[in-house]
């Protein structure tokens, strides 16, 4: 939304003729230009490497695939209209913040710079890819019901594992920053929009494209490396690895941009009165995550560029005989890898600590401690990455150091429990669905955290490294931690985002089935790991057969419980549509003082913040912000 007092505002000339003929930028054009881009890029790639013997013999020309995908990316972004702004800037027109936005449902399939539209688009995209990856998980578990490769042949199984892992992590790293971050940060800090609305829309469309490019790995023959993409195997794999690399690169790029966007918004666009210690804890969680995203994702991008060069122009970054080294990928990937898993965990902390006070009817206990905890986690997550490499033979003399830093990082992570316990002390708990998810977060993350202490201890890590123990650990921290918190966030904020309530009974059914079957699925896998079952294998020794069959059945029930969530979403938001009102949870947050769904400009006039939104049990405390007079026909100017 622009002030009419822009220096060189020029009235818009009538749309050019071709625009009328071809219709508007949007998803249809993006898909068409994306596919055309791939075909052209592939054709050009084949022409360029017609004499490169290595590319010809593989029947799948990596140069052509990479070029095809790069052209497809430009086609996709061009089709959505992302190049119109840079071109107009290069022609000297002044910066503007909003694309031509029109309302109506079609704005969800088009480049729209309203942060609320992007938030909902993100939510739909993340949930869609979450279910695609979840379906892969069901296939993995059905393969593991038998002790050797029966359902899926061994080669395809690795692609299955790779797709499940990569897509889950791709979607979950933008899983909270994207939907809840973009939607709620402006509402919670009293601003009308994010710092860079156009970049915000770009991150959404890059994430969606990355998801589909990763799925295209199936058409290119799959990839055997799993989400970690270890080095010489990545150099050696078929075409599917190119899809993995390009999609992970796009996600890295989207992470940098969404991190910059959220952090800049929090730094510059807070409403007057919102000092640093009045920022809601959820926004602090996202700010800490953004710092990690901005600094860690470039290292992943660099590592991916290196593998890309290895596969196309025959450099030898990771080829030991040629002066490279596989250890380089280990170090670069895990230098990004560990901040990545905290990019996954911190938003979960933020959501839980935001929901807890509302349903415990008590202020957040130890707000500054929570903020210090999150910042501590963000800072230290760059110093622990070699605990993934305890047995890899890299600088054994640093083992004690990395054991120490990994143990050290469990202090700020443990602070979250103190905040939770303090907030629940003599509270008045209401067991609504969001609260159930928040409480179960503590239960799951406790088991995840303690198993992490086992793994950070080198002697114990020798047996558990690369086994199902590790797999159970990170499912407890990511699914038990982040996904439970995200579900709580969805149940808590969807009434605000859509204006309609989510069905309480279905919600509780979904919670209890998800909680019970999640624990029954992943707790036995700690035992499987300790009993010697390596990760990502199709066959295991017979003694583990009954355990795996039990876990598979529990996993199918977990899948069924996720379907209940889907049914609840579709039933409550598409069919029943029971209005939720502005503040269904009686919360004191700023976002609950505007109608739901909030109007396009969020606040009639920029509010003045009076304090933290956790003034429960303080009857005389002022409301978190004074919103100023409602917008009348002609507003008497800007902020109060």
């Amino acid at each position: 939304m622009e002030a009419t007092s822009l220096p060189a505002a020029s009235t818009a000339p009538p749309s050019p003729i071709w625009r009328e003929l071809l219709g508007n930028y949007g998803l249809p054009w993006a898909v068409i230009l994306g596919i055309v881009g791939y075909i052209v890029g592939h054709w050009v790639g084949v022409r360029i490497t017609v004499d490169v013997q290595a590319q010809v013999e593989t029947d799948q020309n990596d140069v052509a695939i990479f070029l095809g995908m790069i052209f497809a990316i430009f086609g996709w972004l061009g089709g959505l209209g992302f190049f119109s702004y840079p071109i107009s800037r290069m022609l000297g027109r002044p910066p503007s913040h909003s694309e031509r936005e029109d309302h109506g449902p079609w704005r969800y399939l088009r480049l729209c710079t309203d942060h609320k539209v992007v938030g909902i688009q993100y939510l739909v995209a993340v949930i869609f890819f979450f279910f695609v990856a979840g379906f892969n998980a069901m296939m993995i578990r059905s393969e593991l019901t038998s002790a050797n490769a029966t359902l899926v042949n061994a080669g395809n199984y690795l692609t299955l594992v790779g797709l499940h892992g990569t897509m889950m992590l791709m979607m979950m790293s933008a899983g909270v920053l994207g939907p809840l971050g973009n939607y709620l940060v402006p509402l919670m800090i009293g601003s009308r929009r994010m710092a860079f609305p156009r970049i915000e829309a770009l991150t959404l469309w890059l994430t969606v494209l990355a998801g589909f490019i990763l799925l295209s790995a199936i058409l290119l023959g799959g990839f055997p490396t799993g989400w970690t993409g270890y080095a010489p195997l990545a150099d050696q794999a078929r075409g599917g690895i190119d899809a993995y690399l390009v999609s992970f690169f796009l996600i890295g790029l989207a992470l940098i941009l969404v991190g910059t966007n959220v952090l800049t918004t929090v730094i510059t666009m807070r409403a007057p009165g919102m000092t640093w210690n009045r920022i809601p804890i959820f926004v602090w969680g996202l700010a800490a995550t953004s710092v990690l995203a901005v600094l860690a994702a470039p290292v992943l991008a660099a590592a991916i560029i290196m593998v890309g060069l290895d596969r196309t122009v025959d450099t030898s970054f990771f080829q030991a005989p040629e002066g490279g080294s596989p250890f380089l990928w280990d170090n670069l990937f895990w230098f990004f890898g560990h901040p990545e898993v905290y990019i996954l965990a911190l938003p979960g902390f933020g959501i839980v600590l935001e929901i807890l006070p509302v349903f415990a009817r008590k202020p957040l206990w130890g707000y500054r401690l929570a903020v210090a905890g999150m910042s501590g986690v963000a800072l230290m997550s760059f110093m622990v990455w070699q605990h993934h490499l305890f047995v890899s033979g890299i600088n054994a003399n640093l083992r004690p150091f990395y054991m120490f830093t990994t143990e050290l990082i469990s202090i700020p992570t443990g602070v979250i429990f103190l905040n939770g316990m303090g907030t629940l002390w003599r509270a008045r708990i209401r067991y609504t669905v969001p609260m159930l998810f928040a409480l179960s977060f503590f239960f799951n993350f406790l088991i995840g955290g303690l198993s992490g202490v086992f793994l950070s201890d080198v002697p114990s890590d020798v047996t558990t490294h690369g086994s199902y123990f590790v797999m159970a650990h990170f499912h407890y921290t990511i699914m038990g931690g982040l996904v439970f918190a995200l579900m709580g966030g969805v149940y808590y904020w969807v009434p605000k985002m859509t204006g309609w309530k989510l069905n309480e009974a279905l919600g509780k059914l979904h919670f209890w089935t998800m909680f019970v079957f999640f624990n029954l699925t992943f707790f036995p896998l700690f035992a499987a790991g300790l009993l010697g079952m390596p990760r990502r294998v199709t066959n295991y020794n017979a003694s583990l057969h009954t355990l795996n069959v039990f876990v598979s059945i529990m996993a199918f029930c977990l899948g069924a419980s996720m379907l209940i969530f889907l049914v609840n979403l579709v039933w409550s938001l598409v069919f029943k549509r029971e209005p939720a009102g502005a503040n269904p949870w009686e919360s004191k947050g700023l976002e609950w003082m505007v109608p739901s769904p909030p109007p396009v400009h969020n606040f009639d006039s920029i509010p003045v913040i009076a304090g933290l939104p956790y003034t429960y049990g303080m009857p005389d405390a002022p409301a978190v912000a004074s919103l100023g007079p409602p917008r009348v026909a002609v507003p008497e100017g800007g902020a109060a």
């Binding site: 622009e2 290069m90 503007s96 002066g323």
Partner: protein, 205 residues
């Protein structure tokens, strides 16, 4: 594509203050993205020192692989010159010498383009191909990524030059000085990266 008329979608007059944050956002945004870019090149720097120290199969830096020193210096000088010339242009802009800001900014942009051209020519003249050891890989990786990021700097300078040339109203500076400051921060970052890159790509044996 014309800049859209900034009107609020629901027909209500747009609020008065969205623009005041724009320059502050650009100021913070460029610092964040510059630190991201520094981490990007830190990965390549780590790759260089790590592979050099490992020197697996004694094939990291075969004797016959030597980058052309001439081009290295030329590119380094051009990058630093671009930053200095643009800094000069910025101070002209701050002092509201419109008539000096314009040519100096264009000179800065031109120098940037020269850097780009020099790098491409160096690729054509390069004595070693990509498949000759770890050093060659890091050399190609670093320079390709640097030129890609350098294009972003060129784009940014170009938008400012274009905005100056296209100016309609004459009150105030052609381009907000803060925008030029932000672009300078990005140029300083890239100049610093180029210096580090020059040292270990061309000087360290």
């Amino acid at each position: 594509m014309s800049a859209s008329v900034p009107s609020d979608r629901l027909g209500q007059p747009a609020d008065a203050e969205p623009d005041e944050h724009h320059l502050a956002n650009v100021r913070i945004g460029v610092r964040l993205l510059s630190s991201g870019v520094v981490f990007l090149f830190m990965a390549f720097t780590f790759a260089f020192w790590y592979l050099r120290e490992l020197n697996s199969n004694h094939d990291f830096h075969p004797a016959n692989v030597n980058p052309p020193q001439g081009y290295g210096i030329a590119i380094l000088v051009c990058v630093i010159a671009t930053a200095i010339v643009f800094r000069r242009a910025r101070s002209e802009l701050a002092a509201d010498h419109e008539q000096f800001w314009r040519p100096t900014a264009i000179a800065g942009l031109a120098l940037g383009c020269v850097t780009f051209v020099l790098q491409i020519v160096e690729y054509l003249e390069l004595p070693f191909k990509t498949a000759s050891g770890g050093f060659a890989s890091v050399f190609w990786g670093w320079t390709v990524v640097f030129i890609a990021v350098w294009l972003a700097a060129l784009y940014w300078m170009e938008t400012m030059v274009a905005e100056t040339l296209r100016r309609v109203s004459t009150d105030g500076p052609a381009v907000p000085v803060e925008a030029a400051d932000a672009c300078l921060v990005f140029l300083y970052t890239l100049a610093g990266i180029e210096i580090v890159g020059y040292i270990f790509l061309y000087l360290v044996k």
